[in-house]
């Protein structure tokens, strides 16, 4: 019954991506892959020549940025605000301190946890103007999940009106889905039917090595110890789902549910 659903799977951004569309050709989905690869090359921190790396090395100088990077940086600032600082892109020094200096496929480096510091407030170190951005000397950004959620949202909007874009687990579904009852998405052990919604799971079970994992708590600069291992969220967009899921996980079991309820937009 899914014969009219085109699907396209590929690896990019160090993860697996899947694109689905009704009324969308395989060629259009392949163009979506190309878009992901081009943008991914700009926002990766693992390439010294990427746009993000140039900003991280700009030593406090104003730098010209592409419209996409400008939007992503503004999204990072919005994530900081929405999470009261818990989703802070300025955790790159901590990422490096825990040994996450290159893609995990290449392996982690030796951790130097004594170098980990609480992340500075993002709005105090990152300024974004039209076509330009400035990052304080000594600071570094890791756009990580924000970039994946943002790309899923943009890609879904670009590809058509009945599309599901999954970028490394951050996904966005537009339209009524193949059977007009939503896009069926595995989520928290069940199937959720998404219609014009995004979803994401934040987890410390993956991207983990020894006692360390990739989810940094900006309050300490160290991997989260919130006692929550995994949080899955459905939200209005993939990026919102990513932000809320990560914030809830960092808040821990005492506040996670209440935070999710507080960020829920009223129906209608």
């Amino acid at each position: 019954m899914r014969g009219d659903v085109a699907a396209h799977h590929f690896e990019a951004l160090g993860t697996i991506c899947s694109l689905f569309g009704v009324g969308v050709s395989r060629a259009e989905l392949a163009q979506g892959e190309f878009w992901v690869r081009v943008l991914g090359a700009r926002v990766t921190r693992f390439s010294k020549r990427s746009e993000l790396s140039l900003l991280n090395c700009s030593a406090g100088a104003w730098l010209d940025v592409s419209p996409e990077m400008e939007e992503l940086l503004l999204e990072a600032l919005r994530a900081y605000e929405l999470s009261a600082g818990l989703v802070n892109a300025a955790v790159l020094p901590s990422m490096l301190a825990i040994g996450y200096t290159r893609s995990l496929a290449e392996g982690v480096s030796t951790a130097t946890l004594e170098d980990a510091r609480p992340a500075p407030p993002l709005p105090e170190v990152l300024a974004v103007r039209r076509g330009r951005a400035r990052l304080e000397r000594g600071c570094g950004l890791d756009l990580g999940g924000i970039a994946k959620g943002w790309m899923a949202d943009r890609l879904a909007a670009q590809l058509g009106t009945n599309v599901l874009a999954n970028i490394g687990g951050d996904l966005c579904a537009t339209g009524p889905g193949p059977q007009r009852d939503g896009w069926p998405v595995g989520f928290g052990g069940v199937t959720a039917m998404l219609c014009d919604q995004g979803a994401a799971t934040s987890s410390v079970r993956r991207r983990r090595w020894g006692e360390l994992h990739h989810l940094i708590d900006p309050r300490t600069g160290l991997p989260s110890t919130s006692e929550l291992e995994e949080v899955s969220v459905v939200a209005a967009t993939g990026c919102d789902a990513e932000i809320v899921a990560k914030t809830a996980l960092l808040l821990g079991p005492g506040l996670a549910t209440a935070y999710c309820a507080a960020t829920r937009k009223p129906a209608g």
């Binding site: 009261a84 687990g169 069926p184 989520f187 069940v190 039917m193 506040l255 129906a267």
Partner: protein, 74 residues
């Protein structure tokens, strides 16, 4: 006499402002290591969290999912 009163008044005003400022600052200490806490509806202290809460805006289905928020993580 008038000059003396002015001096006394100015001194009292200065000392008073100093004391009030000290009291205010002491009562409004900014703790840079205080944890950030975003807005929540209410604090829910729970020993363990498991399962999912499906709000009215999210529908559950019984069909095979085409993808998931898990499987795509490398």
């Amino acid at each position: 006499m008038r000059s003396f009163l002015l001096k006394v008044g100015a001194t009292a005003l200065t000392l008073g402002a100093t004391v009030v400022s000290a009291v205010y600052v002491t009562a409004h200490l900014k703790n840079p290591s205080a944890p950030l806490q975003p807005t929540v509806v209410a604090s829910q202290q729970q020993g363990a969290v498991g399962g999912l809460t499906f709000t009215p805006g999210v529908r559950q289905g019984d069909v095979q999912p085409v993808t998931s928020t898990y499987a795509s993580k490398v």
